[in-house]
């Protein structure tokens, strides 16, 4: 995975974002357990060719911004039994992210 020159990021660290809940069509880089969930941008990693296109031998352009998103574990799992302060960080591409609605 090599960083590419691409568009400026839509979201900045500290911003609240929601992961789209659309179904995956083929190779998908947003795991089920975060889809539809709201988290906070921690880091903007930069832009990379879209792996969901590279998976089908396409160039994966334009490059997508990739973010580290932090979720609360109690948001992700109904029956979470760990500390209410536990968090989980997942790398998510921009084409899966929407502005948070709450």
């Amino acid at each position: 995975m090599t960083m590419q020159t691409g568009a400026a990021p839509k979201f900045q660290p500290g911003e609240r974002v929601r992961v789209d809940s659309r179904p995956a069509l083929g190779h998908c880089r947003a795991p089920l357990f975060i889809r539809g969930q709201t988290g906070t941008v921690v880091t903007v990693h930069g832009t990379f060719r879209d792996p969901e296109r590279l998976a089908y031998h396409q160039p994966g352009l334009p490059p997508q911004n990739l973010y580290k998103i932090r979720f609360k574990q109690t948001d992700l799992w109904l029956d979470y039994t760990g500390s209410p302060n536990d968090e989980l960080e997942v790398d998510v591409y921009e084409n899966w992210l929407l502005p948070a609605t709450n």
Partner: protein
């Protein structure tokens, strides 16, 4: 919209055989183990063939591995999955043909049989999910 743990993969809305985050599979086996020579070979071939100027990207390998049925996915080992992906992608990209591969496999089986080695006659399934540019224009 929180989810319950232990949701069965078959109840998920799309093809998610590999997407098992949060499901309970018991403890991870942390013991180190030696790799077989064929596993090292598969690893080396993938590293070479999935580089920037190679035959495919590592994301394509993931896509092929994710196209397993649940039963096959759980019954195959890590490098068995890599090996099948390698085969499917080399054919998909036209580097080798199915006929060439079948001929070479038959030759290797014969060589091993004449050396009194145990040889499986089973072919690893290609899977319903082999991607084809004409039929998958998404």
């Amino acid at each position: 919209m929180s989810q319950k743990k232990n949701e069965l993969r078959s109840t998920a809305p799309d093809n998610t055989v590999h997407d098992v985050g949060g499901l309970d599979f018991g403890n991870v086996d942390m013991q180190e183990h030696d790799l077989a020579f064929w596993e090292r070979r598969v690893d080396a071939m993938i590293v070479i063939l999935a580089n920037n100027r190679g035959a495919f990207k590592i994301d394509a390998m993931r896509r092929v591995i994710e196209s397993y049925g649940e039963q096959q996915y759980d019954a195959t080992t890590y490098y068995e999955k890599w090996c099948r992906a390698l085969r499917n992608l080399l054919v998909e990209q036209g580097v080798i043909s199915r006929d060439e591969l079948a001929a070479k496999l038959a030759e290797s089986r014969e060589t091993m049989r004449s050396a009194s080695r145990d040889v499986s006659g089973d072919d690893v399934p290609w899977n319903e999910g082999v991607w084809n540019e004409e039929t998958n224009n998404s």
